[in-house]
């Protein structure tokens, strides 16, 4: 009899899982369909802004002393002599051929720049995200576990400081303290002086160095990433620790916790299964958004640590008023942001027991 029930239980679990996956995929499809017009809108917005706002990019590119025909040539090359809708149309056609236009800053196709610089940024953000998730979980759980006691108060004050200090201030502080005063970490760049960069395969220098078998280089790159990644992660870490704490404090007062406690379930199980898990759902949403917004803060941090990444490229492009570069940077950030949001939605849907059950 008991065995029979168990079989039914497993069966229903599998069925539920299938339904859940189906519901999630349907949801993802809907989200992707919703995101595409938004991204097209974003491209139109930034494209129009880059062409309409005052200032002559062709003149900027040619320099103040260039003869008139050079300026005209660059203007023609950038298609600035055509009407706006034609410019956008040709830009869109090029985009579908994988060409984001000519960069007046690097003097080559923007696509080449994106491919070259993006992996370095992504790998920095990946490490920062690891720091963020780990730190937020640790601090949030400590704070929630000892709510309204000394550890909680300390974490809360730390979290306020973490949120309020901008990432570039953390970057400068770390550079000053851990690179200049106590030379624990390198102060800038990706490789130590004299290190030979690994041959480019994936573009992610960490993976490339492993493929090439240069383990020393791998450690060296990782060593260079610690300070920027940590500076980048602190703000988001503090924010998420607060949200995890708030969720836990909220869940602790719920009736179901009193119920399982009355059943005599061990306190440890109550904590991990009935308090922690439900309070992580709202945190995941914010965490995903925060990881995606690391991409924005990376602009300053990469500048401080001279990290050869996409965000630093973005700054250089902006300071040089390279219109194709600016459009590409905004669009790439928008795409990454959209992907991150969809991933977050999937994770939340997976964690949330309500999704999929209704249809099952």
């Amino acid at each position: 009899m008991f065995k029979y029930i168990l079989v039914i239980d497993i069966k229903s679990k599998i069925v539920r899982c299938v339904f859940k996956m189906r519901a999630i995929w349907k949801y993802v499809g809907k989200r992707v369909l919703y995101v595409i017009p938004t991204l097209i809108g974003l491209s139109i917005l930034i494209f129009i802004l880059s062409r309409v706002l005052p200032g002559d990019p062709a003149l900027m590119a040619a320099g103040p002393n260039a003869p008139k025909w050079v300026v005209e040539q660059i203007r023609h090359q950038l298609r600035l002599d055509k009407p706006l809708w034609q410019q956008y149309y040709y830009w869109l056609v090029d985009l579908f051929h994988g060409d984001l236009g000519y960069s007046i800053y690097t003097k080559r196709s923007v696509t080449v720049d994106v491919v070259e610089y993006l992996p370095a940024s992504l790998q920095l953000i990946f490490l920062a995200a690891l720091f963020e998730i780990g730190g937020a979980l640790a601090l949030g759980i400590i704070s929630g576990r000892y709510a309204y006691k000394l550890p909680d108060n300390m974490v809360r004050v730390l979290a306020y400081i973490g949120i309020s200090v901008p990432s570039f201030v953390w970057g400068l502080l770390f550079q000053l303290i851990f690179a200049a005063i106590i030379p624990l970490f390198p102060s800038h760049g990706m490789y130590s002086y004299g290190t030979i960069p690994p041959p480019r395969v994936t573009g992610f220098s960490l993976i490339d160095s492993l493929i090439a078998g240069q383990f020393d280089t791998f450690v060296d790159i990782l060593w260079h990433m610690v300070l920027p990644a940590f500076a980048l992660s602190l703000g988001a870490m503090a924010q998420d620790a607060r949200i995890i704490r708030a969720g836990m404090v909220d869940t602790m007062q719920k009736d179901h916790v009193s119920l399982v406690r009355a059943y005599g379930i061990p306190e440890r199980t109550i904590f991990s299964k009935y308090i922690l898990k439900p309070s992580l759902v709202p945190a995941v949403t914010v965490m995903g958004m925060d990881i995606a917004s690391l991409l924005g803060n990376a602009f300053m941090v990469e500048m401080i640590f001279q990290w050869p990444g996409f965000s630093r490229y973005g700054i250089n492009v902006m300071l040089n008023k390279d219109i194709n570069g600016i459009v590409a940077v905004v669009l790439v950030v928008g795409i990454i942001f959209a992907i991150a949001n969809i991933i977050v939605d999937v994770v939340v849907a997976y964690l949330d027991p309500r999704i999929g059950r209704r249809s099952a």
Binding site: G41, L42, P54, Y160, I163, P166, L176, M318
Partner: protein, 291 residues
């Protein structure tokens, strides 16, 4: 009904006395209030409080350049011999002005758009407004603000415009959510039945219910806007030197970092101080309204 009575009615719905009682109980909120008030006072009375007010703009005194912190110059002097403390106090002015200008531009625009979008949720106008606000939210505000600033000529004024352009969708979304949930309430129907105009329903029936949320968001946003402004000028796309803007001062001083740390570190701490103050204040007000 005159404007004054509308304002006083809005004011009454806030129940300030009760909120103040809630607010006062938390020491962190009071610290936030003190910090924010201190920055506001420093900013307003900067020319009288700063020890060397003439150092705020163009000023060179190479004899006293790069002096470490001392009793004459509490925060030291920068590469042109200007007193860092005086410039930091003047820097509060630019940070607070940024927040004030951005929020006065953004809040009314975002609130009105959000009310319209929520009230006409099923019509094309509501959908259009929300889709446009989605576009602005599709990228971290910093990235879009940076690119708009770079396309304009970098200056403090253009930085304010760029941040304002990025910020309204958050208020639109807030008001959209509140409006679309409230518009099904009976008092809204009652107003409709008595023949009230749409504008009356939006501003006199629905908006007072959103006041607390908007006010909370404004105080929480002050810190974020200051952070965004400081980031813009740190990158070099905001206020230009010799403006005593905190972000610009940090990035200028960063060039001299390990040796002359005081040039960039004190403005950096000042940015953190002002943001910390407004974050604490905002959270205190939020708790007071919810509790």
């Amino acid at each position: 009904m005159s404007r004054a009575t509308i304002l006083s009615e809005w004011w009454k719905t806030l129940e300030i006395k009760k909120k103040w009682y809630n607010f006062r109980r938390s020491p962190l909120s009071l610290i936030g209030l003190i910090i924010s008030l201190s920055t506001v006072i420093l900013a307003i009375f900067a020319p009288w409080i700063a020890p060397y007010p003439e150092h705020a703009g163009f000023y060179t005194d190479f004899e006293h350049a790069n002096l470490p912190p001392s009793w004459q110059h509490l925060f030291g002097t920068d590469e042109f011999g200007r007193d860092v403390l005086s410039r930091t106090i003047f820097g509060f002015r630019y940070s607070l002005m940024m927040a004030a200008v951005v929020l006065t531009l953004v809040v009314p625009a975002g609130v009105i758009l959000g009310l319209i979008a929520g009230y006409y949720r099923e019509r094309w106008i509501g959908k259009l407004i929300m889709r446009i606000s989605d576009i602005f939210i599709a990228v971290p505000p910093l990235v879009l603000a940076l690119s708009v600033c770079s396309l304009l000529t970098p200056s403090a004024f253009n930085a304010m415009m760029a941040v304002s352009l990025m910020w309204w969708p958050w208020y639109t979304r807030l008001l959209y959510n509140i409006t679309s949930s409230i518009k099904e309430e009976y008092f809204v129907y009652a107003a409709k039945v008595t023949g009230a105009s749409s504008a009356h329903i939006m501003f006199k029936e629905i908006f007072p219910n959103a006041m607390g949320a908007v006010l909370t968001k404004i105080t929480l946003d002050v810190g974020w806007v200051i952070l965004l402004g400081a980031s813009l000028s740190f990158v070099g796309l905001g206020a230009q030197p010799p403006t005593p803007d905190l972000g610009t001062m940090v990035s200028d001083g960063a060039k001299f970092l390990p040796d002359y740390w005081w040039i960039s570190m004190f403005p950096a701490l000042a940015i953190s101080y002002i943001i910390l103050g407004f974050n604490l204040l905002g959270d205190g007000i939020k708790d007071a309204f919810e509790g």
